[in-house]
Amino acid sequence: MTNSIRDIAEESQCIFVIGSNTTEQHPVIGTKIRRAKRRRGVKLIVADPRRIDIADYADLHLRHRPGTDIPLLNGLMHVIVREGWHDEAFIAERTEGFEELKAVVEKYPPEVVSEITGVPAEDIEKAARMLAENRPGALLYAMGITQHIIGVANVMSCANLQMLLGNMGVPGGGVNPLRGQNNVQGACDLGGLPNVYPGYQRVTDPAIQEKFERAWGMPLSNQVGLTVTEMLKAAEEGAVRCLYVIGENPMVSDPDLNHVRYSLQQTEFIVVQDLFFTETCQFADVILPAASFAEKEGTFTNTERRIQRVRAAVKPPGEAKSDSWIIAQLAKRMIALGAASPDPDAPHAGWDYESAAEVMAEVNALTPIYAGVTYRRLEAGETPQWPVPGEDHPGTPILHVGKFSRGLGRFVAMDHVPPDELPDDEYPLVLTTGRVLYHWHGGEMTHRARSLEAMYPEALVEIHPKDAEKANIGDGELMKVASRRGEIIAKAQVTDRVEPGLIFTTFHFAESAANFLTNPALDPQAKIPEYKVCAVRVEAVPEGNGADGEAEMEPTG
């Protein structure tokens, strides 16, 4: 997030939620939005194909078709520019590329946008006016924006809108992605990405490479590595021989699971490190039992870049060990076997860590945005937001104040690109996927939390009454959903939360995971799969068939 939860909750005049089921996925932020709406009277605009819970609280719900975010945003910008509501001073001082943007959004008048998105033209006019008249406004998004083949372009369109309105670098404004996992922000920040070292320092930058070579005492690769989706492909092709899977479950969370299964089967050696015997463990050669968050010391970084302590409350069960212990053990053993020979005189070559604080001290030394995130401060109760360039730096609650990190903010005008797979005669419905309040990600944890599981024990497919009737599917009855890649059987939830032509399900349930169906088409830049749109067909499952909810898991094509 460019801004903080607090300033959005307390200072925004308008909150625009697009592609985020906030009250179910980030419930406490959802609560704060509701509170801002009801107590402070902020305007709330929700853009989502489904009538999600937070839409019930909105001043305006723009129910656009999945995969039409760019035309919707362009339509809003068209009206704003047409009416002269854009922030001329901000644009002149702080941005570039406005003329190009103007030329593109020119082509998206509300009537045209209405055709593409299904949103009534007058609602587009109303939303644009609401955004313009209630500044500062914050834009919040989640994977409804990113999980498309044009995910990056979608994000840029969000940024275009906020720059146009002058909503950047001010309290109550900003472009604010809500991060899905407890520490997905931290995993990105601390080098869990193929193209950057900790702190987003590029592996292709020779000066950075040299800095880490000197620190770790080893020559390092300057080749950008593989993303998750590419790793599995490389494993299937034999280029990658060993997979080391730590706290992840690609056999539930990755697209096109039948294909994932095949890739994992082809892999020579797989090590899985986890709390539970996950679906991915079926393909493992070695499984290492890890400690949970309640059993170790460390820090997580939240969606607003705030670093907070994690503390051990209980002991790991049996012989389970913390991930840091395990990885240090492996490192030491491999170094002893000659797999790598780091220069012992390099300042951070070794693997003898006494505590999480010691690891953080190394992070402080090598990662400018975390330089001042010391355990001394954390233990004193501080929870700084990065960048924290020094120990005396207070942290950065709002990014891009006065100046964008790249200098001028660049408008990157975007045209509509339809999703990779659209419905046709054979697969006439659109499937969009997401999550529900009571479960989390692959469900490894929430299925084992007894009360959560009691609330939502099996996969449900949301289908509109019209489509259900057409396919002769009753509420609560089993239905089959098939795409070009696979099929699942799950219970129907007949509801107008979805519109005719659209169905929705989750990937929380391994046996009927949406990801048997999803399209592995990727955004070329971010390599994110298009989970939000694929073409499917549905049919009723006659009683007695597949009554145990078992999924068909064999490849269909």
Partner: protein
């Protein structure tokens, strides 16, 4: 604008618009309360905070009465103390005398005040409520209306903090009753099971169902940490008894969330102690050598694990399953780590670092992710590291 008043003979200067209660607390003078909570609007319902104000008619509720210049307040007048005592006695006439077995014994605002004011349990032969305990089938929130003191903190927490309006009062007079929706079950009244109402309940009327009988405040150790679910970064206290997490409680000073939590954060902790947890390393027999497996299994150091459904358990007594190449063996750490280290080293020497790919984890800590990154780049010698940020 500031206002100066006198409380118990002490001069206090506070901003105009402050209440007597705020002014007193600012001056370090305590006034007892039950329905008041600093996060919630004041309703003056319980009458515990009554104080004497010079020249005012009758006692004033400190939580709702604004201060004025020259106001003279006595918080400990005989009149005020007697009234509070009477209020407590009245509450007790319709309250179960079961502190010995009550979940909130030692963590109950009513109990503390009864103690402070030396109230004896009243002889009372009149009508009492006799509600069914735990009448709501939801798996999260326990309700015992017999203990409800009608303070409305839960109603205000749901309305003002959670903004969900699930709770309210229904009926009149003695029959006044805390209800969800139109006297429905919680989940039918759009309850999101966040548990804010429990967190704000001053007595044992609302409690966390999963924590019933699991330990009372004096038996629990609280450890402040950050939630393991979504990226909001809520802080809360894990309540531990005998090495087991038995409850999660929210904390007023949590930087992001304050007292707010969601259903996963407050009630999703028990996976930590689930019997499915992996407790020993598992290695497929083919990486260990048949002879060694046989020997180690025979002498009881290792065990043959069976993959039943989704998880692994060592087989119970009875005949041992046969061992094939693919059988998982529960080994010691040394063995498992050596298998991995040897195989990784062999592959690296033969095929180079890019023959590896590491899935780091959005669930692990910053420090651990740093180490995964260092291990991948320094030891394995590749940049093939990624995690589920895109999924």
């Amino acid at each position: 604008m500031d206002v100066t008043l006198t409380i118990n003979g002490q001069k206090v200067t506070v901003p105009d618009g402050s209440t007597i209660l705020e002014a007193a607390r600012y001056a370090g003078i305590s006034i007892p309360t039950l329905c008041h909570h600093p996060d919630l609007t004041n309703v003056g319902a319980c009458r515990m905070c009554v104080v004497s104000v010079e020249r005012a008619r009758g006692l004033q509720t400190a939580c709702t009465t604004p201060v004025f210049e020259g106001m003279v307040v006595d918080t400990e007048s005989e009149d005020a103390r007697e009234t509070r005592k009477f209020v407590l006695e009245m509450l007790l006439t319709d309250h179960p005398n079961d502190c010995m077995v009550c979940e909130v014994n030692g963590d109950c605002e009513l109990q503390d005040l009864v103690y402070d004011y030396g109230v004896a349990w009243p002889e009372h032969r009149g009508v009492r409520h006799s509600y069914e305990a735990d009448p709501d089938p939801n798996p999260f929130i326990f309700i015992d209306r017999n203990k409800c003191i009608l303070c409305s903190r839960c109603i205000r927490a749901c309305d003002e903090i959670q903004n969900r309006d699930v709770w309210n009062f229904a009926y009149r007079g003695f029959k006044t009753k805390l209800v969800a929706g139109a006297d429905q079950f919680l989940l039918d009244a759009r309850c999101e099971s966040c548990g804010q109402c429990v967190a704000y309940c001053p007595v044992g009327a609302l409690y966390d169902k999963m924590s019933l009988g699991a330990g009372r405040v004096s038996q629990l150790t609280k450890v402040r940490t950050t939630c393991s679910y979504c990226g909001v970064g809520c802080n809360f206290d894990l309540n531990v008894r005998d090495g087991v997490i038995v409850r999660v409680t929210s904390a007023h000073d949590a930087p992001v969330n304050g007292m707010s939590l969601c259903v996963k954060g407050r009630y999703g902790y028990d996976y930590v102690h689930h019997p499915d947890r992996l407790t020993r390393p598992l290695v497929r027999a083919k990486w260990l050598g048949a002879e060694q497996v046989e020997e180690q299994v025979a002498n009881g150091n290792w065990q043959i694990a069976t993959v039943a459904e989704k998880y692994v358990q060592p087989p119970a007594s009875g005949p041992q399953p046969s061992i094939s190449d693919g059988t998982f063996i529960q080994t010691d750490w040394d063995t498992a780590l050596d298998v991995v280290a040897r195989k990784f080293t062999e592959v690296k020497k033969a095929h180079g670092g890019d023959a590896f790919a590491v899935f780091a984890s959005a669930k692990c800590t910053n420090e651990e992710n740093y180490l995964f990154n260092k291990f991948t780049r320094q030891v394995l010698g590749t940049n093939n590291i990624d995690h589920c940020a895109r999924l």
